[in-house]
């Protein structure tokens, strides 16, 4: 276990703090009281000093984002803080635990952030599937309200309805406004015209939760943790073929191999490490040897050709078929595509078809070239990064495990012969099958109960 201090989960001792009095007993609300003595500019300055960068995946400096919100005298419209709790990036489940275990620290962060951007309205958009987490927040919010701590700020806890695309900030805003969850073109940017065409800051749950300890300890103090380009701690979601999957709060710069082998207990069942997806399915995959060398921060992962993304580390052992991985990941993007832009709507489905063809042993070398070319046509032409992510992820599997793809083609079958740990891990296909015409070419898929 690491001996690094916990910041996000400080005071919880591995458990959850769902009672306001218990939260105050461990120092909760200190930051809020301090923030209420500060001006919005001072709050933003503290965030700047901390170099906190967005924890949702885009890693944009939080203080800078807030400074884009125009002052009330520049723009008469109300300001909104929107918190993106739509956590849906495959492999990511940290915000879930944050809301479950430190709901007050999170809500306190909402109130501080609202003050920072001079907003009286906070909307928390929680993915619909997080029903229990929503109930915890409702209860915590109620306790804050009864204790008259909201200070005139309205916090709305809004539940989503099952769409990954609503994690994209402008699609989230559309959904919040009651429309189809489809992204908007930028500009205009949400800071200028976001929710209801008004200045809006959209932040991730973990980012907001981290605001509280930053105000409490001071931004400069926070910046001492982690590494230069990625300050502070991060809650990493570790999953896959490890002994101890789970959420672990560690400082940025922590070696990936230590997360896997020390904290995570190593590869389960005595197998060997084959590949790691370091930051959620939208990030390029790393081979085992690459994974042994990187540290969990922006710089190191970028230099390795991947990204820190949503800090979701998916560990794959030698039983995993990379082509099946491609199929499953591409199915995810196909299923979640909002359908607004042509390359993503059509391209994700086409990529999945080609991958299925290769996996079923009916693929040709031309199909592999086609797979990469179609991916090229998708990457960089879409309205939002969803389509790009499918193309990027799949391209990285081919780049790093080309021999495996070639083996499928040349042996006209999957070399794992039904023994891959990803066998049968497929998307629900009843919706998919309904719209395919006669003479289905690819192998029909089955749902694993």
């Amino acid at each position: 276990m690491s001996s690094a201090p916990e910041v996000v989960f400080a005071g919880t001792d591995g458990g959850a703090i769902t009672d306001l009095a218990a939260y105050e007993a461990v120092g909760g609300l200190t930051a809020l009281r301090r923030a209420r003595e500060m001006t919005p500019e001072q709050i933003i300055a503290e965030l700047d000093a901390s170099s906190l960068r967005g924890r949702g995946g885009a890693f944009f400096p939080t203080g800078r984002k807030w400074s884009f919100v125009p002052k009330p005298d520049q723009n008469p419209r109300p300001h909104y803080l929107v918190v993106n709790a739509d956590e849906s990036e495959p492999g990511t489940f940290k915000d879930r635990e944050i809301m479950l275990r430190v709901p007050f620290r999170f809500l306190e962060g909402c109130l501080i952030a609202a003050r920072g951007i001079e907003s009286q309205h906070v909307f928390v958009y929680i993915r619909g599937e997080y029903e229990h987490e929503w109930e915890i927040l409702v209860s915590a919010l109620e306790q804050l309200r009864e204790a008259k701590l909201l200070g005139g700020v309205t916090i709305v806890l809004h539940r989503g309805a099952g769409a990954y695309i609503c994690g994209e900030e402008t699609a989230l805003l559309e959904s919040l406004e009651g429309r189809r969850g489809q992204p908007r073109t930028k500009p205009p940017f949400p800071a200028i015209a976001g929710l209801y065409a008004s200045p809006t800051a959209v932040n991730n749950v973990e980012s907001i939760t981290t605001v509280t300890p930053i105000i409490e300890m001071g931004g400069a103090e926070y910046a001492k943790l982690g590494v230069e380009d990625s300050t502070g701690t991060r809650v990493f979601s570790l999953s896959g073929n490890v002994v101890r999957p789970g959420n672990y709060e560690l400082p940025h710069g922590y070696p990936l191999r230590d997360l896997i082998h020390e904290v995570g207990g190593g590869i389960a069942d005595g197998r060997t490490l084959k590949a790691v997806i370091p930051g959620g399915s939208s990030t390029p995959i790393l081979t085992a040897s690459e994974a042994e060398k990187v540290t969990l921060d922006f710089d190191s992962l970028s230099k390795a050709g991947s990204a820190i993304g949503s800090a979701a580390v998916i560990v794959l052992d030698d039983r995993c078929c990379m082509v099946q991985l491609g199929v499953r990941v591409s199915q995810f993007y196909e299923h979640e595509s909002c359908g607004k832009c042509t390359p993503c709507r059509v391209g994700t489905r086409w990529l999945t078809h080609i991958l299925q063809k290769i996996e079923s042993g009916r693929g040709t070398h031309a199909d592999l070239d086609l797979l990469l070319d179609v991916g090229d046509r998708i990457n960089g032409t879409c309205l939002c990064p969803l389509g790009d992510s499918d193309a990027i992820a799949v391209a990285s599997y081919v780049a790093k495990f080309r021999e495996e793809f070639l083996q499928h083609i040349e042996e006209a079958s999957c070399p794992f012969h039904g023994a891959s740990s990803l066998d049968g891990i497929v998307a629900p296909t009843d919706v998919h099958e309904a719209h395919v015409g006669p003479h289905e070419i690819h192998r029909p898929l089955e749902v694993v109960a």
Binding site: T185, G339, C341, T342, T348, K357, T381, L383, H435
Partner: protein, 743 residues
């Protein structure tokens, strides 16, 4: 240009006004940036289809050109000079074609299809997609007028955006997500709204097609004729598609000032009435067995006989739907030839609003619009309804003063409302005075053809403010043109003969009017010029067949006061009115040319300042404002007030009749439009319905002075108390005061 910006596109430099979109900027330079989802009339660009991908210097990724505005110094490369952009556009087309069915041989859009055209220009010549394409059930009947093919749909969302952001009917939606997205209506109900047909023109592929035009023609065997719609006073510019001498469809011809490129469903889908079964195809004479066909020469002889016999006691009932030339021709025959100067027209007309005339598009840019009158604008002039919605989206405040208004007013209270507005102390009136972009609209009967409105506009200081305008919405398409052309034919005063020796009824509006029928009952003889058999049977002695506006060459004046040119789109099955009017006129020594162009020349010398037909052009201009001339005061100053004061007995309600958009003898004869016809219902205010124990859906008996009708009730929360509102065609002979009880 002081506030122009210089942009370089494909090494060509062009200067455009600040704020010009990139697509228009390229167009100005003669360069195409291909688009599908981009349509500025639908609102800000969405950048959804990715067809318009271009390279912009300084930006790493390809950009959706339609979402960009020209910036000074911008350097852009389109597919013509950028391999990346060409690949991007090629890719978009390839993706669209991945699931697009090979329907071209059976698809109505073929030959006039942007997807075909752009694929030829920028897309792949063959496919790399070897998987099964997605299939959907097809065609889906979106409504009796529109067929949907989901396989062809490229999900550009133009149709759903039109439905929600222009017509604001919110009926056409997209449901599901991703590749399984589909266009649908809520709950599979038909798309029932006044402007639904526009999605057919908006759709860039054959996904939304007209059921009337289905499999009717191919683009290379049709002829499009430009003309103007003659079904309402807006006078939207249209294009009639004809094949082998028959009108096959009507499309918009986009006059940016009048219709903005939109058409209502009545203007678009009513043309089949030209081929109605009961169309009068030859002259009919009343004989012992009813109306019998008679040869043209015999008919004209009979007409001459009737006219001579009744000299001095002839009255003409005009319709506000004739062309100016026909009205003038009637005037030449009857007034010049026979001294029969008496005429009736269902509504008054006035030239007073010429001092405040402006394009209808002025409404779209207004900040404050006040509408007085009891009729919904969409029933009188649908194009105006769309401009109002545009204004509201732009932040304008729309105030309606009437029986269903945001400011409730008693029935017939429009004139009073105007009086109140012009009171210097009136708040809304003050805002109208202060504004540079205010519009007044009169939507209802009365008003002296715009005279009352002109007086009010003058008092409110609209003179000299180009952004301030006033519009009177008449009930018929061309009442002023008809009235002025009739008046111009000769000098001479009306005589109001009693009894009427001969009533000449011109046009179906008049033939269908209960007031004209009442006159006909008094008259000793009746000549009716009408299109449909049922309108003349039983009361006309001689029926001469009329033509439809799509079959007429001539001019008409719309509610703006704009003179527009109609062109004959197809040769009518019956002679043009001018043809036989000129023959008849000759028999009375009055000279009338059978050619509309020549008649127009003569008419123009008298009242249009010698304007030549060619000067009207394809998109007629609206002349500059005239100086204000105070109109004659209201002839019956208390007329409207008197209507209201008419004994409001306890328990009775004032009957408010209205003419819905989808009513009238033309619409009644089009099968596909029957689902748009008004329900047989009576609308009551919540208070009145509540007091009578009536809920929406209840069958009620509506009684007045010996007649009664059964209708379904509907509670209308907007309706003012004391009023019951019924479509004219369902109100039968009910009087002005009615009792409504649950059946």
């Amino acid at each position: 240009m002081s506030d122009g910006v210089k942009v370089t596109i494909d090494d060509r430099e062009i200067e455009v006004a600040k704020g010009t979109g990139l697509v228009e900027t390229a167009e100005a330079a003669g360069i195409e940036i291909p688009v599908f989802c981009y349509e500025p009339r639908l609102g800000p660009a969405v950048g959804a289809c990715r067809m318009c991908l271009v390279e912009v210097e300084g930006l790493p990724k390809l950009q959706a050109g339609c979402t960009l505005t020209a910036q000074d110094g911008m350097v852009v490369r389109t597919a013509a000079t950028s391999k990346r952009a060409a690949e991007g556009q090629h890719g978009t087309l390839e993706f669209i074609l991945v699931n697009h069915p090979l329907d071209c041989p059976v698809c109505d859009k073929g030959g006039e299809c942007p997807l075909q055209d752009l694929t030829f220009r920028y897309g792949p010549g063959s496919t790399r997609m070897t998987f099964a394409k997605m299939t959907f059930d097809k065609p889906i009947p979106v409504s009796p007028l529109i067929a949907l093919d989901r396989e062809r749909c490229i999900l550009c969302y133009r149709c759903t955006r039109f439905s929600s952001d222009v017509a604001e009917d919110d009926q056409l939606i997209a449901r599901n997500r991703g590749a399984y997205s589909e266009i649908a209506t809520f709950g599979e109900d038909p798309y029932r709204a006044p402007f639904s047909g526009n999605v057919i023109e908006l759709c860039p592929v054959g996904a939304l097609t007209s059921t009337q035009y289905r499999f009717e023609a191919r683009p290379w065997e049709i002829q499009d004729v430009p003309t103007v719609c003659g079904l309402c006073p807006a006078g939207c510019n249209i294009r009639a598609t004809t094949r082998e001498g028959a009108v096959k469809r009507v499309q918009s011809r986009n006059h940016p000032e009048i219709d903005g490129g939109w058409l209502c469903d009545k203007g678009r889908f009513t043309y089949p009435h030209l081929r109605a079964e009961d169309r009068v195809g030859e002259p009919l004479q009343r004989g012992p067995l009813g109306l019998e066909p008679v040869a043209w020469d015999a008919a004209l002889d009979r007409a001459e006989e009737l006219l001579r016999g009744a000299r001095g006691t002839i009255v003409t009932a005009l319709s506000g739907s004739e062309t100016n030339e026909i009205a003038y021709g009637l005037g030449v025959l009857l007034r010049r030839g026979l001294g029969a100067h008496s005429a009736v027209l269902d509504e008054s007309t006035s030239a007073a609003l010429d001092a405040f005339r402006a394009p209808l598009s002025t409404i779209g840019d207004a900040e404050l619009v006040v509408i007085v009158g009891d009729d919904d604008v969409v029933d009188r002039a649908p194009a105006v309804d769309l401009w109002l919605r545009k204004a509201r989206r732009g932040g304008a405040e729309i105030v309606t003063v009437g029986a269903r208004g945001s400011v409730p007013a008693p029935v017939g209270g429009a004139a009073d409302a105007l009086r109140e507005l012009t009171d210097p102390a009136h708040d809304l009136g003050k805002r109208l005075r202060a504004s540079e972009r205010a519009v007044l609209v009169w939507s209802g009967p009365g008003g002296g053809g715009g005279a009352r409105l002109a007086e009010a506009a003058h008092k409110l200081g609209f003179d000299g403010k180009p952004g301030c305008a006033a519009f009177h919405l008449p009930a018929t398409p061309n009442p002023r043109g008809v009235s002025e052309a009739w008046a111009a034919a000769a000098d001479g005063d009306e005589s109001d003969p009693e009894p009427i020796g001969l009533l000449v009824v011109s046009g179906d509006e008049a033939a269908g009017s209960p007031d004209v029928r009442a006159l006909a009952e008094q008259a000793e003889a009746v000549i009716a010029i009408t299109m449909f058999h049922s309108l003349a049977v039983g009361w006309a002695d001689l029926v001469l067949p009329a033509t439809a506006s799509l079959e007429r060459e001539g001019t008409s004046m719309n509610l703006e006061g704009r003179l527009q040119r109609l062109r004959r789109t197809v040769i009518s099955p019956v002679p043009d009115e001018l043809a036989w009017l000129s023959k008849l006129a000759a028999r009375f020594d009055a000279e009338l040319s059978p050619h509309a162009a020549v008649v127009f020349e003569e008419l123009s010398e008298r009242i249009y300042g010698g304007l030549r037909l060619e000067q009207l052009g394809e998109h007629a201009a609206l002349p500059a404002r005239a100086a204000y001339v105070a109109p004659e005061p209201s002839r019956a100053p208390g007329a409207e007030a008197a209507q209201r004061a008419e004994g409001h007995f306890v328990g009775t309600l004032r009957l408010l009749r209205y003419t819905p958009l989808f009513s009238g003898h033309q619409v009644e004869r089009v099968a596909e439009l029957q689902f748009q016809r008004p329900e047989e219902e009576i609308a009551l205010s919540s208070g009145d319905a509540g007091r009578r124990g009536i809920s929406t859906g209840d069958v009620v008996t509506v009684r007045s002075n010996g007649t009664s009708v059964e209708l379904r009730a509907r509670v209308d929360r907007k309706l003012v108390e004391g009023v019951a509102r019924v479509a004219d065609e369902h109100a039968a002979d009910l009087h002005a005061e009615v009792e409504v009880v649950k059946a």
